[in-house]
């Protein structure tokens, strides 16, 4: 089955622009590919609009830059898909798909 891509995802601009090399998506590790697909999949099912996700992604990136100041080296900031993950978790909570406790537990599992 052929599945068309969503143009508003491909065309995101500004700080939200997808990391791409010669047009193709760049994923460094499997989790990045996975969290990308998660956000797209739930949007495709109509659980939120892509604009809703994009707004939260932009907010996450802006918040991180503000928290550390403009002179912080890019290397010290969270990576693109860490912002993506944070935005996605935020949206899951806001839309009532997950409880804040469930999301916190995911992070807590790491330690």
């Amino acid at each position: 089955m052929y599945r068309a891509i969503k143009q508003d995802i491909a065309d995101m601009g500004g700080v939200a622009v997808l990391p791409r090399q010669s047009g193709e998506l760049v994923f460094h590790d499997p989790w990045e590919r996975r969290v990308f697909a998660l956000a797209v999949a739930l949007c495709e099912q109509g659980l939120y609009t892509w604009d809703e996700f994009r707004e939260r992604l932009i907010a996450e990136i802006a918040a991180a830059e503000q928290a550390t100041g403009p002179d912080t080296l890019a290397a010290a900031l969270p990576s693109y898909y860490e912002h993506w993950l944070a935005a996605f978790e935020q949206l899951l909570i806001e839309k009532g798909m997950c409880t804040p406790e469930q999301v916190t537990a995911l992070k807590a599992d790491l330690r």
Partner: protein, 217 residues
């Protein structure tokens, strides 16, 4: 391989985000966190692992050719643009803001009910990357490069494209000077689609000529 054939020198300036900078520990932690998140959402019945695999693959293979797809869609809806594209593809692509080719000429070859075009670079891997992104691995493989010339019909069959014996196959060998792009046939069932919707249907493989744009509806 001569340097004129390489694409590295023509690549756009990479953005800093393309470099991996997470440590192994951070990566491991994020792998675990996303895996748990996925399990949670699968348990809730919101998504299936198969969907995620397919989605990621679709975006990985189709995002690159976005520029090329816009060119094809424009040609489908605008006969005058199509004429310019077939006459001087480099200039017609520049009209849409797609350039970056340095000295190479783009040539667009049109598929019809009786002619099917396929692009290859027998010498190395010349490829119209500003409009198609990075070439797929098979495009650079020796078997594709040699066999598509000797047995194009057989190669297409392996890609899942079976063409009637009456369809003439034309194989175009890209070089440092000329890069080819296939203008696929507009599929039936798309008469009422917008240009943007049409662009979303055009795949990289169709613009290389190893696939057709599938019939809709």
């Amino acid at each position: 391989m001569s340097t004129a054939h390489g694409q590295g020198a023509h690549d756009t300036v990479p953005d800093a985000r393309l470099e991996k900078r997470l440590t192994a520990e951070q990566t491991q932690a994020l792998e675990a966190r996303v895996k748990s998140l996925e399990s949670l959402l699968v348990t809730k019945g919101l998504v299936s692992p198969e969907t995620l695999d397919k989605l990621a693959a679709t975006y990985e293979s189709d995002l690159g050719p976005m520029n090329g797809a816009k060119v094809i869609a424009r040609a489908w809806v605008d006969p005058a643009y199509k004429q310019r594209l077939l006459t001087n593809a480099t200039a017609a692509m520049a009209e849409l803001g797609f350039s970056g080719l340095q000295g190479e000429h783009m040539v667009v070859v049109e598929n019809t009910p009786t002619i099917h075009n396929i692009v290859v670079c027998t010498l190395c891997s010349c490829y119209p990357w500003p409009v198609l992104g990075l070439p797929p691995i098979w495009y650079k493989s020796a078997p594709y490069r040699s066999r598509v010339v000797l047995d194009p019909r057989g190669v297409l069959r392996e890609f899942g494209l079976v063409l009637d014996e009456s369809v003439e196959l034309r194989v175009w060998d890209s070089s440092a000077e000329i890069r080819y792009l296939v203008l696929p046939e507009r599929p039936s069932g798309t008469e009422h689609r917008s240009e943007e919707e049409l662009a979303a249907l055009v795949t990289r493989d169709a613009m290389i000529g190893v696939a057709r744009v599938p019939i809709q509806g």
